[in-house]
Structure formats: C-alpha cells, structure tokens
C-alpha cells in the first residue's frame, strides 16, 4: 500500500496525518480526563459525558454570537477565553445538579448508572435539537486562529490545531497538579480508595463526590469549547467520541492520568495514520484488536501503581 507514493510524499503524509492525529489526541485527552476522573475515581460510567462536552461547545457558540452581535469587533478575538471559562462552569454546574438529583442515589448500582446516564444523554440530545435545531452549527474563528504554518512545500500545519494542543497540555498539567497537590484532590483519592474510612477520618464524602463529578463535567465543557475549533457542533456530535474515549480510559488504566494521556496518544495516532491508508472502519477494527490484545495481557491497563493492596 505504500508502493504508489514516493519517499518524500510518504514523509509528508505521515507528518500531516500525525498532526491530524495529535488534534484527535487533544479531544480524546480532554474528554478522557473528565471521564477518567468520574469513572476512575468514582466508578460511575457516565454515558452522557459526550453531551456535557457538546454543552460546552454550544456555550462557546452562543458566546461567539453574543460577541459578534453586541461587542465591538476588536474584542471578538478574545471571545474564546471567556467562552471556555463559561463552558467549564455551565457544564460543571449541570454536572453537580445531575449528581445531586440522580447519580448519588445510584452509587452502589453500576448498571443502573449506565442506563440512567444513557437516558440523560438522550434527553440532552433532544434538548439541543429543540433549542439549537438539528443542523450543525459552527463558530467563526478569530483571525489569529485562522490559516496554517507552512513547514515545507508539502507539510502545512493549521494554527487552530496547534492552539488546541497547547490548551490540552495546559489543562492536563493543571488537572494532574490539582489531583496530586490540592486538598480536593487528596480527599478525592481518599474517598476513591475507601469511602467509609474516608468519612471516618473526617472527609465529607458527599461533598467530595459532588465536586468531583462537577469537575469531570466541567473539563468536558472545556473539551467542547476546544472542539468548536476543529469541528462543527450538532446534537449528536458528542456521541461519536464517547466509545473511543472509554477505550482510552480503560486502555490507559483508570486510576492513572499519565496512562490516560499515553493511551490517548497511541490510539489517536494509530487511528489517524491508518485511516489514510486503509478505510476508516478497518482502522478502527485494527485498533480495537490491538487494544483487546494488550488488555488481555495487562488487564488493569497500561499504567498501574505497584503497591501491596
């Protein structure tokens, strides 16, 4: 399959597909971070995670329109930062509400949470369809995110992709520091390990659960914000990513953020490079087979902590 290309063509194909893979990687990481926090830390499989992401995307879309309509044009360039913060808080607030109204009653029933959050995802999708219409919407990128960087004659890299990647790196590092250093992070990890014991050392576990769930959903909101730069937003856009994201979380080892990043990288690169040479579904089949194979050898995922349990 490589025979019909020259060596230099192959290099640029790999470089550009590699870069496309990196953008996919960014979305995966941002989605998977929130999911890993919720699934890895709380054991809740949140099927509506994709819809939380799309909520962030719609918030970004609304903010961009508000800026275009009511703000002076010079400010339009900075709409994205405000949209991102707003997306985080809107998705986080909805997450906290969902945890309070639904999830907390289902903590000991994993299959029921699966079903309940799936139902929630349908409700959210229909709400988007009713409010924003079935047609996909997009945002107009500010000038500084338009265009691309010409590296060689054949390789060019879009600026919005670079921006999304930098954003991903910053948020990942931020989340990692938060889970390791902050008080909420430590309390979350204690609750994850042993809920009744965490309560018996003085941690308010219900509050920690709510904040953790809200945080996971908030990060999904940011992911949605970033998503508007590389794709258009529709009611069902989030669904396309949810299965892949679960794959990333399970493959990476649910307890390890580093594992999440590594597995997102592997899966997105494999996907994106193979998609060019094979068909999309063949690429998916090969990725899935590899992941299944590796999980049979390492059932706890790529990265696990070595300790006595």
């Amino acid at each position: 399959m490589f025979a019909e290309y020259t060596a230099s063509e192959l290099t640029s194909i790999f470089a550009m597909q590699g870069f496309a893979g990196l953008i996919l990687f960014s979305v995966f990481v941002l989605m998977a971070l929130g999911l890993a926090i919720i699934f890895g830390q709380m054991g809740v499989i949140n099927m509506a995670h994709g819809e939380f992401m799309i909520l962030g995307a719609y918030v970004t879309y609304l903010v961009s329109h508000l800026f275009a309509d009511y703000m002076p044009e010079s400010l339009y360039n900075s709409y994205f930062l405000i949209a991102m913060v707003l997306a985080f808080f809107v998705a986080g607030a909805l997450g906290a509400f969902v945890e309070w109204a639904m999830i907390r009653h289902l903590y000991k029933r994993p299959l029921d949470t699966l079903l309940a959050t799936w139902g929630l995802s349908l409700i959210m999708q229909q709400t988007y369809r009713t409010v924003f219409g079935a047609r996909e919407v997009g945002v107009v990128l500010p000038d500084w995110l338009m265009g691309s960087v010409q590296l060689t004659d054949m390789i060019e890299i879009p600026i919005n992709g670079i921006f999304v990647m930098i954003l991903t790196v910053v948020i990942t590092i931020g989340v990692a520091i938060m889970m390791q250093r902050s008080r909420l992070g430590k309390q979350t990890r204690a609750v994850v390990q042993n809920r009744p014991m965490a309560a018996a050392v003085g941690i308010n576990t219900e509050k920690v659960d709510r904040l953790t769930f809200a945080l996971g959903c908030g990060i999904a909101g940011i992911a949605g914000s970033a998503f508007t730069m590389i794709g258009s937003t529709g009611p069902t856009s989030g669904q396309l990513y949810i299965v892949d994201t679960f794959l990333v979380v399970v493959f990476g080892g649910a307890a390890s953020l580093l594992g999440t990043v590594a597995s997102a990288f592997t899966i997105s690169q494999a996907q994106s490079t193979m998609e060019f040479f094979l068909s999309g579904s063949m690429a998916k089949v090969l990725t899935l087979l590899t992941v299944v194979g590796i999980l049979m050898l390492r059932p706890e995922g790529l990265f696990t902590l070595k300790i006595r349990r």
Binding site: A190, Q193, A200, G202, I203
Partner: protein, 229 residues
C-alpha cells in the same frame, strides 16, 4: 466524657448490641475484651457512624452523636483507628496523615505527630501500602490523631502485629493519653496487651457488658474464661 446509654445496634432483625451502658471518663483508657462475634467491632463501627444505631444515645462532652454522620462525628471529636488499619494504600504517608486534617481546617501536619512516630517522618514519601503492618498501624493512629480527637477509638490494634511491637504500642498509647489528655477505648482479644494499656477492663459478651473492673482488681483467670472458646 463519652457516655453510652441504652445503646443498641442491629443488622436487620438480629440485634448485635442491646441496651448497652458504658461511660468513658476523661483521661481514661478502657479495654473492651471479648471473643470473635461478640460485638466489639460492631460497637466501634457504630460509634464512628459506619453502622447506624437502633436506639439509645451516645454523647461526647454532652453533645449527642447518634444523628451525626461519620465526618461530623470526627469534627465533634471522635478519632477512629479501624480493624485492619485501612490506610489509603495508594497515597503517600504524608498524604494519609493530611486526610486526617480535613476536619480541623489545618494545612500543615503538626510536628508533634512526627515526634510520636518518628518512623513516619522517615517514610513520608512512601506509599502507605508499602509500609509494614506495624508502621501502617502507627500511620492509622497518626491519621486519627491529626483530627485532634478528644476520644480515640481503636479496634483490635494488635491484630497481625509482632509481639515486640505490641509492647511498644501500649507505651505509645499511654504517652498519647498523657500528652494530649484524651480518652482512649480499645477493643482487644489479647489479654496481656489490655492489662498493659488499660485503666479499666470491660468484657463484652453477646452485645452486653458482663464485666467492668479497674485493671488493679482484674483477675486474669476470670477474664480468660470469658475469652476462651
């Protein structure tokens, strides 16, 4: 200090602890002895709020504990060291102790904790799961002390720990009592440890206190009879 009156705990229809009355005086160490299945752990777990109680009252410094959740009881002054230690094994020693600080609002571990358990200072950055049993026990006690309790509950602290360290632990518990002026309640199966550490010995059988004597008057043989299977 801690006043337990007409207290009962049940799993569904089967009553484990029925109409128990028990007083823990300030600055006192009591040991609750009893065979397996007599309700020691159930009593401890219900006092910290892991198991709901059925009736009666528990007051600490005249504050009623029974309607409170676990974390509120900790804030009210109950410290708990569970059976099997239950430290957070993937977290470092330092982080483990820090979880105990939650109810106090402090951020830095008070240095006198490390003075009590110098080994924990040496192992600060190790993961809790990689400590030995004795070290984990010290960690569990330090974690409970971090919340500055006025009553410390220890459930079978000697379980799975080698004899030389058990002696050491009795000394440490007394030191903690003298230094911090708190009251301690241990549940035990090991009589020698109980005689070593406690001011008062209680024997629990089928959820009732059947013997309550100061340690000076405790007759080893009578108590052994209660403990033998």
């Amino acid at each position: 200090m801690l006043q337990i009156s007409d207290y009962s705990v049940a799993y569904g229809q089967s009553t484990i602890i029925g109409d128990m009355n028990l007083t823990l005086n300030p600055n006192e160490i009591i040991a609750v002895l009893g065979r397996n299945g007599m309700g020691k752990t159930t009593l401890m777990k219900s006092l910290i709020g892991m198991i709901p109680s059925q009736g009666g009252s528990v007051t600490l410094k005249n504050k009623e504990l029974t309607p409170l959740k676990s974390f509120e009881r900790v804030a009210a002054g109950v410290g708990f060291v569970p059976q099997g230690r239950m430290i957070f094994s993937t977290m470092t020693v330092k982080e483990n102790i820090e979880t105990g600080l939650t109810s106090t609002g402090k951020k830095v571990i008070p240095s006198d904790l490390y003075e009590l358990f110098p080994v924990l200072d040496e192992m600060k950055d190790r993961r809790g799961g990689n400590l030995s049993g004795g070290q984990q026990q010290q960690l569990a006690i330090a974690r409970a002390l971090a919340s500055e309790p006025s009553v410390l509950l220890l459930d079978e602290p000697t379980e799975g720990i080698q004899p030389s360290i058990i002696k050491e632990m009795a000394r440490t518990l007394k030191k903690i009592r003298d230094k911090r002026g708190l009251s301690i309640m241990v549940s035990e199966q090991v009589l020698s440890f109980a005689l070593d550490v406690a001011d008062r010995i209680l024997v629990i059988e089928k959820g009732k206190i059947v013997l309550d004597v100061p340690v000076a008057e405790a007759d080893q043989e009578t108590i052994s009879k209660y403990l033998s299977v």
